[in-house]
Amino acid sequence: MTRFRVDLHIHTLLSPCGDLQMSPSAIVERSLAAGLHAIAVCDHNTTLQTPLVEELGRRRGLQVFHGVEITTREEAHCVALLPDAQAAAELQRFIDAHILRIPNNPERLGDQVWVNQWEQIVGEVAWYLPSPLDRSVEQTADEVLRLGGLFIPAHIDRPANSLLGQLGFMPAWLPVWAVEYNHPERFGVLLEADPALRAKTAYTASDAHFLSQIGTNPSWLDAPACTFEDLAMAMAGTQGRGIISCRTEP
């Protein structure tokens, strides 16, 4: 087994809250500088910028997973990690069909532009990306799983926009591959209150919106290789693979 350093939640400049410096090439360079072996690009409700990050990452030996941070009807943020570009494109069609289209206001809410490899702006998304879908968390999870993806409630220890914050509890029947948290202390408090949460695989990620945040809250993937299948097995805790974070890292 090899131990891979991973950051499974990074935004690009396309997310309105993402700094304009978060271009695909800057993300790749910064990730490598931070000693990461793999990252997941998770913009709000869009995958437009990810193929370029993956392409640039591949050239430099950085594994880039296709991800997206979906806002469900309950305003809960959930990360979906997809096996490939095709699955990501299909999930994008689902998102586009169900998202509430509220016009963006770049001055107040942030720019939503995407770039090519030369950092030239090639497009702008007109509707506010973090708007919710008209799908529930269960419906969203079902779709992600149908596409062979991993469904992970994002930053569950955060009061705002987390599944626990929005619903007050983790639905027992929800097909969760793992939960993502930000702060070990806050997460520890949640575990005290909800023993059922202990049964879930949990890991940290940066949720980076600025280059300096990339790799600041990493996790470690123990696997023979750093493929999507290894990641899935690690979250399921099968075949000797695992994913650990600062709480449990020796």
């Binding site: 305003e75 509430l100 509220i102």
Partner: protein, 110 residues
């Protein structure tokens, strides 16, 4: 009715006095989902909620709402408060529940 009058009549504490304090209120909206307010609230309405996240202020400013009424005595944290001051959004506080606050405000301005 102006925001100031509403605050007086219902004995609401003025947490932050914003730019629209002396303006006429055009209605009200009750929701704890920010996206719902972004999609459906109208300019000049008072927003009744118990959400105190700083994004509440951003949404209130974006939608040009008359004021935010925080219910159940829940107070905003420092981040939300400084955002309110910066954006000049009026924030009022009441110990009433959202149900009671909405009922009374509706009776006054509905």
């Amino acid at each position: 009715m102006k925001v100031q009058e509403l605050a007086d009549k219902l004995g609401m504490e003025v947490i932050c006095r914003g730019a629209r304090f002396d303006e006429q209120i055009r209605g009200g909206y009750v929701s704890d989902l920010l996206s719902d307010v972004m999609g459906h609230a109208d300019e000049g309405q008072v927003w009744i909620t118990l959400q105190v996240h700083r994004n509440v202020i951003a949404v209130a400013a974006l939608k040009e709402l008359a004021a935010v009424v925080l219910t159940s005595g829940i107070l905003p944290d420092e981040q939300t408060l400084s955002q309110a001051r910066e954006e000049q959004v009026t924030v009022l506080s009441t110990p009433l529940s959202s149900f009671e606050a909405a009922g009374r405000i509706y009776a006054l301005i509905g």
